[in-house]
Symmetry: C2
Subunit: 621 residues, 2 copies
């Protein structure tokens, strides 16, 4: 019964859930992927992070001048190590959760509800930040190519966001093909940068950086461990997206586990090569962070020269990041749906009929990220760390969950696997803590606030549904359906054809029918006259239904009627009186404004204060 599920705990087992965190919408889950196709379709987010990952390292190290920048390579290497660990442990996740792992699923299976909800919250936050980060990074790439636009970057960001939102509201049928081309172009051009760059001794051009103020700080000669740690943590943002494959296992062609694992490894390898390659170039060309020009742009400039190649890279980056932002719009609704199905979110999000949810999710997502865009002034590097936090929380939870998993299974060589995942958990956990600690005052506090709040929200919703479920006696077979005498009340102010139709409907439905009108006892000529006229006309008409006058001294409509209905119910011991409100329903939209709100007013009052069945008879014209 519609009303029933209206606010009623869903009875679905969450087992047959779509993978929650994948960047690809449900429809997509069905056309199966090969290892290569998967790489193209799922590596999007990971590749996109190459656009801002290295930069965030450079920015941190720049604090220690060019001496500090010398540590770019070592830091990157250690990140590559972490990457390797992550990839390895996600290989295991894939094997263990062929239905699509993802921190939410893993945590729900092994770490209990609350942890799962924490994972879910971090995912929600990530989806939002992913949009903000990708858009800003994309615009940064654009403004690096066209410095003239730098001042308008916030507006540009909002414009891009608007486009993505519009596309998603229209609901395009996405497909892997959409992603493949740009991803390929991007990857190839990055590799080109690296290869060509390695054969140069000096930058081919520094034009992009020219005319921009260098953000390089004083030239220190000592580099503290903390600085390196921060650089490491910051750089880890380059690892966002490596989980995507694990979430999308069901999308692979059988043997899906094998294929997915291959994809995961290929993804990791590719990512690692790109990161290290870029780090090498950064050192080779003694790059320095320059305001308004991304590190990637500088590298493209340095190795490909300020020509076609340079612009190609920039455009590829913009497109790729636009698509990366787009993935959130596919992913979030799926996650919300999963949460709604577990009664942690309003069921609207699980309701797929008439595409309502989708719209809800899309708008929520774009508004939230628009706020972030404006808040950050369109600056990638202030958003990236926040993004990293959520991602690492997810990573960590997922890894810990896996440790539990192996510990529970105790299959062959479980210790090794557990150790691997545990190590991964440790690294990502530390990274999360470092980023949070170092960026706390610069926005990280927001994430720390949002995470628990979301968890509390989810739990509150769950409790509410549980309560409602009890009231509805869910799962039990309800008592027999019983017929009883019915009383129908029809509110009236003047007499027209509509009045006739309404009374006819009422007598057809009810065993007893009453017409009722509210008489305002406030001394007012007009009201008196209206009441008088009605009384007279009623006499003239003689519809065979008694007209009852309910007095009210406060010019109100709803409350007196509600009170009257409750009295009736009490007197005649009806458990439900039926109230039938006749209305005119203009067909043209603007004419809707011509309706006075009486019907709505009465409906609201009755709904709040009575158990009446509220019927609205509408004469369309």
């Amino acid at each position: 019964m519609f009303g029933a599920t209206d606010a009623q705990p869903s009875t679905h087992p969450a087992g047959e859930a779509d993978p929650p965190e994948t960047g690809i919408p449900p429809e997509q889950q069905r056309d199966r992927l090969t290892a290569l196709g998967g790489l193209a379709a799922l590596s999007l987010d990971a590749m996109a992070s190459v656009a801002y990952g290295p930069e965030s390292i450079v920015l941190v190290l720049a604090a220690a001048g060019s001496y500090g920048l010398g540590f770019t390579l070592p830091v990157t290497v250690s990140i590559a190590v972490l990457l390797a660990v992550l990839v390895a442990s996600y290989r295991q996740v894939i094997a263990a959760f062929p239905d699509g792992g993802g921190s939410y699923a893993v945590a729900k299976a092994h770490l209990g509800r609350r942890t799962a909800l924490t994972a879910a919250s971090s995912l929600v936050i990530d989806y939002i930040l992913n949009v903000a980060v990708s858009v800003t990074a994309g615009v940064a790439a654009l403004t690096s190519a066209f410095p003239g636009l730098y001042e308008q970057r916030v507006w540009l960001c909002l414009a891009v966001l608007a486009v993505v939102t519009a596309v998603n509201l229209r609901g395009i049928a996405e497909s892997a093909r959409w992603f493949m081309a740009p991803t390929a172009v991007f990857v190839l051009s990055i590799l080109a940068i690296i290869v060509v760059g390695l054969f140069r001794d000096a930058p081919a051009s520094t034009e992009a950086a020219a005319g921009h103020a260098s953000a390089l700080a004083g030239n220190a000669t000592a580099v503290g461990a903390l600085l390196l740690l921060r650089a490491f943590a910051a750089g880890c943002s380059a690892l966002t997206g490596v989980e995507a494959v694990a979430n999308a296992v069901p999308s692979f062609r059988t043997p899906r586990v094998k294929r997915a694992q291959h994809t995961e490894i290929a993804l990791g390898g590719l990512l690692g090569v790109m990161l290290i390659g870029l780090a090498v170039l950064i050192g080779r060309f003694h790059l320095q962070p320059v305001e308004g020009v991304t590190v990637l742009a500088q590298l493209a400039d340095a190795s490909l020269g300020h020509g076609f190649g340079f612009y190609l890279v920039q455009f590829a980056t913009v497109i790729l990041l636009g698509l990366a932002a787009n993935t959130s719009f596919g992913g979030l609704p799926v996650l919300l749906r999963l949460l709604a199905r577990d009664n942690h979110l309003p069921h609207v999000f699980a309701l797929r009929a008439d595409h309502q949810v989708h719209r809800h999710g899309v708008l929520f997502l774009s508004l939230a990220s628009a706020a972030l865009l404006v808040g950050s002034g369109g600056d990638v590097n202030s958003l990236v760390p926040l993004f990293a936090i959520g991602v690492f929380v997810g990573f960590t939870i997922c890894q810990v969950g896996m440790v539990r998993h192996w510990n529970g299974e105790r299959g062959r060589g479980w210790q090794g696997k557990a150790l691997l995942n545990g190590f991964g958990a440790l690294l990502t956990g530390v990274a999360a803590l470092v980023v949070t600690g170092t960026k706390f005052t610069e926005g990280a506090w927001g994430v720390c606030l949002a995470l628990p709040l979301l968890v509390l929200l989810f739990e509150a919703v769950h409790r509410a549904y549980a309560r409602i479920g009890d009231r509805l006696e869910l799962g039990r077979v309800p008592g027999p359906v019983t017929r009883q005498r019915s009383l129908v009340v029809v509110p009236v102010t003047v007499i027209t054809r509509l009045t006739r139709d309404a009374l006819s409907a009422a007598v057809s439905l009810g065993d007893e029918v009453l017409a009722v009108t509210v008489v305002h006892t406030v001394p007012d000529v007009e009201d008196q006259q209206a009441a008088e006229t009605l009384r007279r006309d009623w006499e003239l008409w003689r519809p065979g239904v008694p007209l009852i006058e309910v007095p009210d001294g406060h010019r109100r409509l709803g409350p007196p009627l509600a009170a009257f209905v409750n009295e009736l119910a009490a007197e005649h011991a009806y458990d439900r009186v039926t109230v039938l409100i006749p209305e005119v329903e203009p067909v043209r939209l603007w004419q809707r404004a011509l309706q006075n709100r009486r019907g709505a007013v009465i409906d609201r009052a009755l709904r709040r204060h009575t158990d009446a069945v509220v019927c609205r008879l509408r004469m369309r014209m």
Copy 2:
């Protein structure tokens, strides 16, 4: 019947209408006024216009340097003459329309509907502009006293507006007493300025103006007729508000006509004295327009010195203008109500129950004027002319109507009266044209656009109501009420206690009852399962009501149900099928979010596409 008047032409004669344009809300209409009380209660707007009237003259003449400023007095005198004419002719309006004249009423009686609507539109525009002008003028007075605030004037304006709006949303019980004190203080302080000033040869202080850039243009020695005409037209803005008395005749104690006429004359006299007095001082002190300091402030400064007196005047002005703005909030709803009663506006505006209208009107008014405030950058002098246009249009229409009136009556000495009104019409008409012409590019075009558009709107609404009225066979006695077999359809998705209640209600109401569920034929595990479960549970339950499955291939809810209902109606030749939607109605507000929108979705679809009676059974919890 509620639905009936829902969008149905009201049957009230507009005869027993509240006076439309008075600045005082309906409740107010009852405690009767003496001539003096009336002066205090109704002179507000007129007095307020003293705060910006003279200034607008000075600003125009300043274009011709100090030589031009020499013409301030003559221009003012001619305005005083017009004032005299207006007062005289409004004396006649009062006599002719003891129920409250006002251009709308007069025009409706003598110039036909369209002219009346033009008058009404100009009034609507005035109410909005009055708010904007009064607020900005008030803030200008404030910033003249505290130049530091000058930069924030727009924000100050919005703040003041916000306060006034809030007060009116709360719906304070206003009374003449509210107005008397500030009006009296203001008038007295102005008179003080004049008297004291007349005894000075040189300004006591020019401190207020010090430090502000003088806006005085090059020193011309010739003053064109056009300039004088423009100065005249601009200055006429000082006459806004003289009509208030004529509109509020019913508020006077008997003999109300006499009392009202006395008030009108006193008002005119007082206003004239103040205007001329100020003009004399302006000449005497060789005042020049100074940015950021109102002329009134400069005068107060010059004659009372930059001390207590000065600040008192400024504060009195601020308060008075605040109240002046407030009058619109009392007046507009009354006018809208009158228009709604004549079916020129949606009936919501005539519906007084539950204070809905009031809120509508107040919000509309404050948003519109906020737009003007921001648009004008909080500058009085760019708004005043626009204000004047509407006022003069109203004046002119009213006068012309009176000429018709006398011409119709042809009572003793009617020619004289007609001549007087005619002369008034001519003057105000010319003034209107001049202001419009000279200010066309500076906003007047907006008024010229808004006026006809409003008229068209009013007429469109009227036509729509007429059409609806026909359909409803208004005024005719409807046919007899007939009983027929009733069919009740209950949408279902799962089975709970609510399902039981709904089916029980259905069988109590209907002769025949069907439960119906929409089955999504899209291949989807979940949906299949849901349908399967429902079928099984239904068998188990055996409620004695058939369960019908309506297939749909597009994951929709509303459309398939609507189609099903229409089929049923066709097959069984019911003219109305009844659909009963069960819903859970959480009591706590935030829990409303837990409802999925199914009920609403179905309701909308049925409302749009069927004639079904839509009932919603809500289980409150």
